[in-house]
Protein backbone atom coordinates (compact mmCIF):
# COMPACT_ATOMS: atom_id res chain seq x y z
CA UNK A 1 0.00 0.00 0.00
CA UNK A 2 1.14 3.49 -0.76
CA UNK A 3 2.10 5.47 2.27
CA UNK A 4 0.52 8.91 2.04
CA UNK A 5 2.13 10.15 5.21
CA UNK A 6 5.67 9.86 3.91
CA UNK A 7 8.51 12.28 3.55
CA UNK A 8 10.22 10.73 0.54
CA UNK A 9 11.45 11.99 -2.81
CA UNK A 10 12.17 9.90 -5.89
CA UNK A 11 14.08 11.32 -8.83
CA UNK A 12 14.42 9.40 -12.08
CA UNK A 13 17.47 10.55 -14.01
CA UNK A 14 17.11 9.60 -17.66
CA UNK A 15 19.26 12.38 -19.13
CA UNK A 16 23.01 12.32 -19.31
CA UNK A 17 23.40 16.02 -20.06
CA UNK A 18 25.39 18.21 -17.71
CA UNK A 19 22.60 20.73 -17.14
CA UNK A 20 19.97 18.10 -16.42
CA UNK A 21 22.20 16.01 -14.18
CA UNK A 22 23.01 19.24 -12.33
CA UNK A 23 19.31 19.87 -11.78
CA UNK A 24 18.82 16.31 -10.55
CA UNK A 25 21.66 16.50 -8.01
CA UNK A 26 20.70 19.98 -6.81
CA UNK A 27 17.13 18.87 -6.16
CA UNK A 28 18.30 15.63 -4.55
CA UNK A 29 20.72 17.36 -2.17
CA UNK A 30 18.10 19.98 -1.36
CA UNK A 31 15.50 17.33 -0.60
CA UNK A 32 17.91 15.27 1.49
CA UNK A 33 19.04 18.40 3.34
CA UNK A 34 15.41 19.10 4.18
CA UNK A 35 15.15 15.70 5.78
CA UNK A 36 13.46 13.86 2.94
CA UNK A 37 14.43 10.25 2.33
CA UNK A 38 15.65 10.72 -1.22
CA UNK A 39 16.30 8.17 -3.95
CA UNK A 40 17.78 8.73 -7.39
CA UNK A 41 17.15 6.12 -10.06
CA UNK A 42 19.60 6.37 -12.98
CA UNK A 43 18.46 5.01 -16.29
CA UNK A 44 19.74 5.08 -19.87
CA UNK A 45 21.98 8.13 -20.44
CA UNK A 46 21.67 8.97 -16.77
CA UNK A 47 23.73 5.91 -15.83
CA UNK A 48 26.81 7.85 -16.85
CA UNK A 49 26.39 10.07 -13.80
CA UNK A 50 27.15 7.10 -11.54
CA UNK A 51 29.82 5.46 -13.68
CA UNK A 52 33.46 5.43 -12.65
CA UNK A 53 34.45 6.49 -16.15
CA UNK A 54 36.42 3.46 -17.31
CA UNK A 55 35.84 1.88 -20.70
CA UNK A 56 32.88 -0.46 -20.71
CA UNK A 57 31.36 -3.13 -22.93
CA UNK A 58 32.04 -6.71 -23.89
CA UNK A 59 30.89 -7.22 -27.48
CA UNK A 60 31.70 -5.04 -30.48
CA UNK A 61 28.69 -2.74 -30.13
CA UNK A 62 29.00 -2.62 -26.37
CA UNK A 63 32.64 -1.58 -26.66
CA UNK A 64 31.80 1.01 -29.33
CA UNK A 65 29.11 2.33 -27.02
CA UNK A 66 31.61 2.40 -24.16
CA UNK A 67 34.12 4.28 -26.28
CA UNK A 68 31.59 6.90 -27.37
CA UNK A 69 30.26 7.23 -23.86
CA UNK A 70 33.54 6.98 -21.94
CA UNK A 71 34.47 9.10 -18.98
CA UNK A 72 32.41 9.69 -15.89
CA UNK A 73 30.37 12.52 -14.53
CA UNK A 74 33.09 15.09 -15.21
CA UNK A 75 33.06 14.76 -18.95
CA UNK A 76 29.36 15.03 -19.68
CA UNK A 77 28.41 18.01 -21.81
CA UNK A 78 25.47 20.41 -21.68
CA UNK A 79 22.35 19.62 -23.73
CA UNK A 80 22.87 22.82 -25.72
CA UNK A 81 25.94 24.83 -26.70
CA UNK A 82 28.38 21.98 -26.27
CA UNK A 83 30.24 22.61 -29.55
CA UNK A 84 32.35 19.49 -29.24
CA UNK A 85 33.37 20.11 -25.64
CA UNK A 86 34.05 23.86 -25.74
CA UNK A 87 30.64 24.52 -24.19
CA UNK A 88 31.34 22.08 -21.39
CA UNK A 89 34.60 23.80 -20.60
CA UNK A 90 32.93 27.21 -20.73
CA UNK A 91 30.07 26.19 -18.45
CA UNK A 92 32.48 24.62 -15.98
CA UNK A 93 34.57 27.78 -15.95
CA UNK A 94 31.57 30.09 -15.56
CA UNK A 95 30.12 27.96 -12.78
CA UNK A 96 33.46 27.59 -11.02
CA UNK A 97 34.06 31.35 -11.14
CA UNK A 98 30.70 31.91 -9.47
CA UNK A 99 31.25 29.37 -6.75
CA UNK A 100 28.82 26.74 -8.01
CA UNK A 101 29.83 23.27 -6.87
CA UNK A 102 31.00 20.84 -9.54
CA UNK A 103 28.90 17.81 -10.43
CA UNK A 104 31.34 15.58 -8.59
CA UNK A 105 31.12 17.71 -5.45
CA UNK A 106 27.33 17.73 -5.66
CA UNK A 107 27.24 13.97 -6.07
CA UNK A 108 29.52 13.58 -3.05
CA UNK A 109 27.26 15.89 -1.05
CA UNK A 110 24.25 13.80 -2.06
CA UNK A 111 26.09 10.69 -0.86
CA UNK A 112 27.05 12.40 2.41
CA UNK A 113 23.39 13.31 2.98
CA UNK A 114 22.40 9.65 2.46
CA UNK A 115 20.72 9.99 -0.91
CA UNK A 116 20.14 6.48 -2.24
CA UNK A 117 21.64 5.89 -5.69
CA UNK A 118 20.12 3.12 -7.79
CA UNK A 119 21.11 1.89 -11.23
CA UNK A 120 18.69 0.65 -13.87
CA UNK A 121 19.45 -3.01 -14.61
CA UNK A 122 17.96 -3.02 -18.07
CA UNK A 123 19.89 0.02 -19.33
CA UNK A 124 23.10 -1.40 -17.93
CA UNK A 125 22.43 -4.74 -19.60
CA UNK A 126 21.76 -3.14 -22.97
CA UNK A 127 24.79 -0.86 -22.81
CA UNK A 128 26.98 -3.59 -21.30
CA UNK A 129 27.79 -1.64 -18.18
CA UNK A 130 28.53 -3.86 -15.18
CA UNK A 131 28.19 -3.21 -11.45
CA UNK A 132 31.99 -2.81 -11.26
CA UNK A 133 31.77 0.10 -13.72
CA UNK A 134 29.62 2.05 -11.25
CA UNK A 135 30.88 3.99 -8.25
CA UNK A 136 30.87 1.98 -5.01
CA UNK A 137 28.21 4.17 -3.39
CA UNK A 138 25.50 2.86 -5.73
CA UNK A 139 23.26 0.85 -3.42
CA UNK A 140 21.60 -1.51 -5.82
CA UNK A 141 20.74 -2.37 -9.39
CA UNK A 142 16.97 -2.44 -9.73
CA UNK A 143 14.11 -2.37 -12.23
CA UNK A 144 10.97 -0.42 -12.91
CA UNK A 145 9.01 -2.25 -10.19
CA UNK A 146 11.27 -0.98 -7.45
CA UNK A 147 11.33 2.49 -8.96
CA UNK A 148 7.53 2.65 -9.14
CA UNK A 149 7.16 1.34 -5.62
CA UNK A 150 9.48 4.09 -4.41
CA UNK A 151 7.71 6.74 -6.50
CA UNK A 152 4.27 5.64 -5.27
CA UNK A 153 5.52 6.17 -1.73
CA UNK A 154 7.00 9.59 -2.37
CA UNK A 155 5.61 13.08 -2.12
CA UNK A 156 7.95 14.31 -4.79
CA UNK A 157 8.46 12.34 -7.99
CA UNK A 158 10.56 13.81 -10.74
CA UNK A 159 11.66 12.57 -14.12
CA UNK A 160 14.65 14.40 -15.48
Amino acid sequence: MADNDNNNATIIVMSGDMDKVFAAFIIATGAAAAGMDTTMFFTFWGVKAIQKGNLTGKGLFGRMMGLMNRGGINVIGPSRFNFGGIGRWMFKKMMGDKGVASLEELRQMAIDLDVHLLGCGMSMDVMEISREDLIDEVEDIVGVGTMLNLAANSKVQLFI
Binding site: G30, A34, G35
Partner: protein, 78 residues
Protein backbone atom coordinates in the same frame (compact mmCIF):
# COMPACT_ATOMS: atom_id res chain seq x y z
CA UNK B 1 22.72 40.63 17.68
CA UNK B 2 22.26 39.12 21.12
CA UNK B 3 22.01 35.46 20.22
CA UNK B 4 24.13 32.74 21.83
CA UNK B 5 25.71 30.87 18.93
CA UNK B 6 27.04 27.33 19.27
CA UNK B 7 28.44 26.86 15.78
CA UNK B 8 29.29 29.09 12.83
CA UNK B 9 29.00 27.97 9.23
CA UNK B 10 30.85 29.99 6.64
CA UNK B 11 28.98 29.64 3.36
CA UNK B 12 30.24 32.86 1.83
CA UNK B 13 31.00 32.25 -1.83
CA UNK B 14 28.91 29.10 -1.94
CA UNK B 15 25.88 28.81 -4.15
CA UNK B 16 22.67 26.85 -4.09
CA UNK B 17 22.29 24.17 -2.79
CA UNK B 18 25.50 24.15 -0.75
CA UNK B 19 24.48 26.54 2.08
CA UNK B 20 21.44 24.33 2.78
CA UNK B 21 23.34 21.09 2.29
CA UNK B 22 26.08 22.11 4.74
CA UNK B 23 23.43 23.38 7.14
CA UNK B 24 21.78 19.95 7.14
CA UNK B 25 25.16 18.31 7.69
CA UNK B 26 26.05 20.65 10.55
CA UNK B 27 22.68 20.28 12.21
CA UNK B 28 23.18 16.52 12.38
CA UNK B 29 26.18 17.03 14.62
CA UNK B 30 24.41 19.48 16.94
CA UNK B 31 22.20 18.98 20.00
CA UNK B 32 18.60 20.10 20.32
CA UNK B 33 18.46 23.69 21.55
CA UNK B 34 21.79 24.70 20.01
CA UNK B 35 22.02 27.58 17.56
CA UNK B 36 23.78 27.58 14.19
CA UNK B 37 24.90 30.82 12.58
CA UNK B 38 25.13 30.65 8.79
CA UNK B 39 27.01 33.32 6.89
CA UNK B 40 26.01 33.38 3.25
CA UNK B 41 26.02 35.72 0.27
CA UNK B 42 23.95 33.53 -2.03
CA UNK B 43 20.77 35.44 -2.79
CA UNK B 44 18.68 32.31 -2.71
CA UNK B 45 19.70 31.62 0.88
CA UNK B 46 17.54 34.54 1.92
CA UNK B 47 14.40 32.54 1.27
CA UNK B 48 15.93 29.03 1.29
CA UNK B 49 17.00 29.02 4.92
CA UNK B 50 13.57 29.98 6.34
CA UNK B 51 11.96 27.51 3.90
CA UNK B 52 14.32 24.80 5.09
CA UNK B 53 13.34 25.57 8.68
CA UNK B 54 9.66 25.35 7.83
CA UNK B 55 10.12 22.00 6.14
CA UNK B 56 12.31 20.45 8.82
CA UNK B 57 10.56 21.98 11.82
CA UNK B 58 13.62 23.80 13.12
CA UNK B 59 13.32 27.34 14.35
CA UNK B 60 14.44 30.32 12.28
CA UNK B 61 15.52 32.94 14.80
CA UNK B 62 16.73 35.94 12.84
CA UNK B 63 18.74 37.29 9.97
CA UNK B 64 21.19 40.13 10.02
CA UNK B 65 22.45 42.11 7.04
CA UNK B 66 26.20 42.56 7.21
CA UNK B 67 26.66 44.34 3.91
CA UNK B 68 28.33 41.85 1.57
CA UNK B 69 26.70 38.90 3.25
CA UNK B 70 23.95 37.97 5.68
CA UNK B 71 23.98 36.10 8.96
CA UNK B 72 21.16 33.68 9.59
CA UNK B 73 20.43 32.16 12.98
CA UNK B 74 18.77 28.78 13.18
CA UNK B 75 17.93 26.87 16.34
CA UNK B 76 17.83 23.12 16.31
CA UNK B 77 14.46 22.15 17.74
CA UNK B 78 13.97 18.68 16.31
Amino acid sequence: MDIQVDKVQDSIGQMCPMPIAFMAKNMRTMETGQVLEIRADDEGAHSDIPAWCEQTGNEFLAEEDCGDYCKYYVKKTV
